[in-house]
């Protein structure tokens, strides 16, 4: 049976009344948790995981996948309107999306984000369907040395995106890597920098740090700047982007789809990295790089598309290899295993209804989400149109609940508060905290790759220069450095005169 025939059968499964309802429920819940700061896709999926135990595996996985990509969609709303990322992958959306909203283009920004998400999500599902078996093989061949260099490339890319100076960005990257080493050593189980605190055995909570550094510090800055205005609800006619905005978003949307798809296959924090990479690419190739950070359409469309394009491809390692690429897909794995369905190469033959039903439901889900995010955006925004005096304590309390509910740890709440103050001070003095967060999540894998490679080579650092994959990543790294040096040595006149700090 051809892939097309199987897809048709998948649509028959996904379009059943029950599965359609579950897809809609998942998308609605996902958008809501994505909109509300402090609750991300993982928390949203974890909350409804127990419900899937009473469903058949196809229905359960369809609902969870709906939450997963629904949260990716919803995360952009708070980023654009309040500069508070609903989930980690929306950090980049805050940069230009919020600036567009400040210029009265909130409606257009939300539309561009929603349409970009739709295109990215749909194309990545198409890619998942066509390339799943082949692409997974390629990524499996990447060894630990290449993985370590790949992480280095990802971090280097961050320096190009950050709003602070390269030196300050480097300091923040080091700080993120440093915090990432806290906890029991993954190989020797030796306690590292735990200060005799058991709560730190698994490392610092990423959720607490992320919400503290971004959410709480933003609240403190908002008070400092006297920012007490409400987010404006865009009218339906404001949702239509201007012709120029639409034209400017086409290229970034297509490039974002490709970047998101490729990065989605890489296990780790692909959806976060892909947004940074997309932003960096758009900024590099833009004729007006000085507009980035001040409401550039490309700076919104590219990353938001890339973010959603990872949802399809991040399922490739899970469905084809049984390896969850990101924590959210680990919940999908758990749901499938609870029903005795083991994802892997045999999934397509043993449980075709699950594989193709999920793919078909993702096509449907992406359509449902455009229906939710465009006409109903004002309803979601109304959730947030609470005056600052109410919003402040509400956001704070939701942050507390979001952080506490992950591990039930009061210690994480203290980390959240401390991170809020540190984030506020760092940002006041021109240190961008986003690179620290990215380094924190990449640090584990970078160290693991670094140590495994050195163990294999008996301590020979030459291993980091051998192998085709390693060479490709080094070439990429050199290219990035060369481009940055060229720009530093021969800056454009426009950059000299108008470039913001």
């Amino acid at each position: 049976m051809s892939a097309f025939d199987q897809l048709i059968q998948g649509f028959a499964v996904a379009l059943s009344f029950k599965n359609l309802g579950l897809c809609l429920l998942g998308c609605l819940w996902g958008t809501a948790v994505g909109v509300l700061p402090g609750l991300g896709p993982m928390a949203g999926m974890a909350l409804l995981l127990p419900i899937t135990f009473n469903l058949d595996p196809t229905g359960g996985v369809i609902m969870l996948a709906g939450i997963f990509y629904g949260a990716m969609y919803g995360g952009s709303t708070t980023s654009i309107l309040l500069k508070i990322p609903g989930e980690a992958a929306s950090i980049v959306t805050c940069i230009d999306g919020y600036q567009m909203a400040q210029k009265g283009r909130a409606g257009a920004a939300l539309s561009i984000a929603a349409l970009g998400s739709f295109v990215g999500g749909t194309l990545s599902v198409l890619g998942l369907m066509l390339f799943a078996p082949y692409l997974a093989d390629v990524m499996l061949s990447v060894g630990p040395s290449a993985e370590a260099v790949m992480m280095l490339v990802a971090l280097l890319i961050v320096t190009a995106v950050s709003s602070s100076s390269p030196l300050k960005t480097f300091i923040m990257i080091c700080l993120g890597l440093l915090v990432g080493t806290i906890g029991l050593d993954a190989i020797t189980a030796a306690p590292r920098y735990m200060f005799k605190t058991l709560e730190l055995a698994e490392g610092m909570s990423f959720v607490a740090l992320a919400i503290g550094l971004f959410g709480l510090s933003e609240l403190l800055l908002a008070i400092s700047e006297g920012k007490t205005e409400r987010p404006k609800v865009p009218r339906l006619r404001d949702l239509i982007p201007s012709r120029q905005e639409a034209r400017e978003s086409v290229g970034p949307t297509l490039r974002g789809s490709a970047i998101g798809f490729v990065f989605g296959i890489i296990p780790g924090v692909s959806h976060i990295v892909s947004t940074f990479v997309s932003y960096a690419v758009e900024k590099q190739i833009s004729k007006k790089p000085e507009t980035f950070g001040h409401g550039a359409v490309a700076g919104l469309a590219g990353p938001e598309t890339a973010n959603n394009a990872t949802t399809g491809s991040s399922l490739i390692p899970l469905l084809v290899l049984g390896i969850p690429a990101i924590p959210s897909t680990a919940i999908l794995l758990s749901a499938l295993q609870n029903h005795g369905v083991d994802p892997g190469p045999l999934l397509m033959t043993n449980h075709p209804e699950v594989f193709w039903g999920l793919i078909a439901s993702m096509y449907i889900g992406n359509l449902v989400l455009v229906g939710l995010n465009l006409p109903l955006v004002s309803i979601f925004v109304r959730l947030l149109q609470t005056p600052m005096v109410y919003l402040m304590p509400l956001v704070t309390l939701i942050c507390f609940v979001g952080v506490y509910s992950v591990k039930g740890s009061g210690f994480d709440i203290m980390i959240l508060i401390a991170a809020g103050l540190i984030g506020y001070l760092l940002r006041q003095f021109g240190f961008d905290v986003a690179p620290a967060l990215l380094a924190l999540v990449l640090g584990d894998r970078m160290e693991a790759g670094f140590r495994r490679a050195l163990t294999i080579s008996d301590g020979d650092y030459g291993i980091f220069f051998h192998g085709p994959a390693v060479k490709v990543f080094w070439a990429l790294l050199i290219l990035i450095v060369a481009v940055r040096m060229t720009k530093a040595l021969w800056p454009k006149k426009a950059l000299n005169t108008h470039a913001p700090e």
Partner: protein, 157 residues
């Protein structure tokens, strides 16, 4: 939060202090990494990676601190006292959330913020606090059954 007071600090001084703190942090990381052990050929110690990162952080922070000190750019950074008071409020709310539960902390936080932000009626502030506390309790605790700190009435059971 009616205070309009603010403290203006020279930006370079703040940067310099932050860089010094970060350099010290990096130094501490290196010191402890040496205790953990850097390992030998074929057996990489748990301290090698933190040591490398610590050295990089210390070096970069010292350079950045030195640059800030030499440049002494006139870019004053204004720290609003409101923000610091808000932080104190959030910290108290966090402690009450952990020890007294969501209901009490949300009631108290909403009420206090409303009073500070100019809501003159105590009754109105208390009512708003009660509504928010009830709504959050119903949503997160009753409907979603999230893992939350014990509420104050559970402490007496």
């Amino acid at each position: 939060m009616k205070q309009q007071a603010q403290t203006s600090l020279p930006g370079w001084a703040g940067e310099f202090v932050i860089c010094l703190c970060l350099a010290a942090l990096g130094g501490y990381w290196v010191k402890d990494a040496l205790r953990l052990g850097l390992g030998s050929d074929g057996e990489i110690g748990a301290g090698l990676f933190p040591a490398a990162v610590g050295v990089a952080l210390t070096a970069a922070s010292l350079i950045a601190g030195l640059k800030a000190l030499l440049k002494r750019a006139a870019n004053p950074v204004v720290i609003e006292h409101q923000s610091l008071w808000a932080f104190v409020l959030l910290a108290i709310a966090a402690i009450s959330f952990v020890f007294l539960g969501l209901f009490v902390s949300s009631f108290a936080l909403v009420m206090v913020v409303l009073r500070l932000m100019g809501q003159r009626s105590m009754k109105r502030s208390a009512l708003a606090g009660l509504i928010v506390a009830l709504a959050l309790h119903l949503l997160f605790s009753v409907l979603l059954g999230l893992q939350l700190p014990p509420e104050i009435w559970e402490l007496f059971e």
